[in-house]
């Protein structure tokens, strides 16, 4: 385990009966990064996080947290956790929940500091059971960071949040990374990973199929998109080399191509009146879709 590595799975295999949840997975969370773990449902994201948190044991391979077994309480004292499926006691007030979790850590924030940081100060005296779904997520976010963790695990932190609350969470995450915290994020919102992540890992069928920065992930997908207004026919353009798909709508013709330069040259040569030419690189969402489709085919 390298100096910069905070949590690591090495060659981990995990089965549930006949189902292989993880298949020889290697995963590393480095110091000071926001690391997004992406993948379709059943890809093994939750199992991977559970192993890193010591909630399960691998059938093969090893899981390390701050260089130690995650089953020990000591490494977990540097960790904050937000789980999607956890339901807290309805009868306790939000501030009481935060105070309880703060008591587990050696040098935590005060409950009021944690509430202020997550924009939930107004919820402090309210019973948890009376909160809306989005407010519950915000309160759980306060629980996750009250221990001033060096590593934060967040499972779908912004599900159910309105735009304003999501902005507060994103801003807090950026400040936490600036303050030296590393974050592991699982999310279905690819724009969230695109906006926040330093590094992305894509899992499919329990295996790591790609990892790198968001730009590196986009670059893995050579496909680019061309949009223009042209009198050329869809069927004609579809038959050109390097062209993958062609559609037309009220905004014009949309072409995806593996070699956009060749296609653009030919478009300009074939239609002198061509207008509004735009070339875009595939986004993370397209990269994700293509990568996971390839892996599951």
């Amino acid at each position: 385990m390298s100096q910069s590595s905070l949590a690591e799975l090495s060659g981990v295999t995990k089965r549930y009966g006949n189902v292989v949840a993880l298949d020889g997975l290697d995963l590393e969370v480095r110091r000071g990064e926001l690391f997004a773990v992406l993948g379709p449902n059943g890809a093994g994201k939750t199992t991977a996080i559970s192993l890193l948190l010591g909630l399960q044991r691998p059938d093969r391979g090893s899981a390390r947290l701050f260089g130690q077994s995650p089953h020990l309480v000591e490494p977990r004292r540097h960790v904050g956790v937000m789980m999607q499926e956890a339901t807290l006691a309805a009868e306790l007030r939000v501030r009481e929940h935060v105070a309880l979790v703060a008591s587990y850590y050696p040098d935590p924030l005060t409950p009021d500091e944690a509430l202020a940081l997550t924009g939930t100060a107004a919820l402090g005296n309210r019973p948890y059971g009376k909160l809306s779904t989005g407010q519950k997520r915000q309160a759980q976010f306060a629980l996750a960071l009250v221990g001033r963790p060096r590593l934060l695990f967040l499972d779908e932190p912004t599900v159910g949040l309105d735009v304003q609350a999501r902005e507060i969470v994103w801003a807090a995450l950026r400040r936490l990374v600036d303050g030296g915290c590393s974050i592991v994020l699982t999310t279905h919102y690819l724009e969230e990973a695109e906006a926040l992540a330093d590094r992305v890992a894509v899992l499919a069928r329990g295996r790591l199929i790609a990892s790198g920065t968001v730009s590196e992930m986009r670059a893995l997908v050579v496909r680019k998109r061309i949009t223009c207004r042209t009198a050329l026919r869809v069927d004609d353009v579809s038959a050109w080399p390097d062209v993958q798909t062609v559609t037309r709508d009220q905004h014009g013709m949309h072409i995806t191509a593996s070699n956009t330069e060749n296609v653009v040259r030919r478009l300009l040569a074939a239609d002198e009146d061509l207008q509004d030419l735009e070339v875009e690189r595939a986004g993370l969402a397209e990269a994700f879709t293509e990568l996971t489709q390839e892996a599951t085919q």
């Binding site: 309480v73 004292r77 956890a86 009481e96 587990y104 050696p106 040098d107 400040r175 936490l176 915290c181």
Partner: protein, 266 residues
């Protein structure tokens, strides 16, 4: 400006401060405090288990049979101790059984396992909560005792209260086991399946015929009741040491089964 600075400071990760033993003890205490608070704030739990034993004691021991009991000090003691043991059983069996099962269903125990909660803090907190509930029940029973014609010194009353507070341990262990094998929906039924027959078949509220005595001996409620008689210097059936051993065995046996299952299934 100061608010901005505070927020910037609050996003700094913690220094390498070790968790002092004092903070670990504090974590256990905070867990117990909030476990008790939330159960006291649950009317469906606190109402029946705090009020029912003394209400039934007043109904049967004062209103319905008060005249007969007034003439028989042994009957007064039998009634008082019986309803006291009834008050010990509920918080442990239901407080543990249902809350552990519900928390397992809701992923709360899993979250606490992922967080750096000190080892066993959640279960210890529930045990202390059950003991607090029994302490409250015993305070209400002690307050009602003069109406039930109980003649007992304050010291002996305190002794039997302390015994019953410790008596929450075996019932808590039984409840904990229920919580680890049943879902949140099934746990109340399973707890009742253990609780209701035990009330009637342990002989704590009315004497059983000799032919059914062996059934009573299977019940920890019977052994706690007999230990309370011995504690008061009244005649008890069997040796107090045997009763204490049975209660200890039930606590350790069910406790070990529950902890083993929690470690396996979470």
């Amino acid at each position: 400006m100061s608010a901005v600075l505070t927020q910037m400071e609050s996003t700094q990760v913690a220094s390498e401060t070790p968790m002092t033993p004092r903070r670990v003890w504090r974590a256990y205490a905070v867990e117990a405090k909030y476990e008790s608070l939330r159960m006291l704030r649950t009317p469906g739990f606190a109402g029946p288990f705090l009020a029912l034993p003394v209400a039934l004691y007043l109904l049967f021991g004062v209103l319905l049979f008060g005249t007969e009991i007034a003439k028989d000090p042994a009957a007064a003691m039998f009634t008082f101790l019986g309803f006291s043991v009834l008050g010990v059983m509920g918080p442990g069996i239901f407080g543990f059984g249902v809350s552990v099962a519900v928390e397992r269903d809701q992923g709360l125990l899993k979250l606490k396992r992922a967080l750096p909660m000190p080892t066993g803090a959640s279960l210890i907190a529930k045990m202390l909560m059950a003991m607090l509930f029994v302490a409250i029940v015993m305070a209400t029973m002690a307050a009602a005792a003069p109406l039930g014609h109980l003649r007992m010194s304050a010291g002996r009353l305190a002794g039997v209260s302390l015994l019953n507070i410790l008596g929450a341990l075996p019932f808590g262990a039984m409840g904990c086991f229920i919580g680890t094998v049943a879902s949140g929906k099934a746990a109340p039924a399973l707890a009742n399946l253990m609780y209701l027959p035990m009330i009637y078949l342990s002989g704590i509220l009315f004497p059983l015929p000799k032919s059914m005595h062996w059934i009573a001996e299977l019940s920890p409620a019977y052994h706690l009741d007999q230990l309370a008689f011995a504690c008061l210097g009244a005649g008890s059936e069997g040796a107090p040491a045997v009763h204490a051993l049975v209660l200890a065995a039930v606590t350790l046996g069910f406790g070990a089964l529950a902890v083993r299952r929690l470690a396996r299934v979470g």
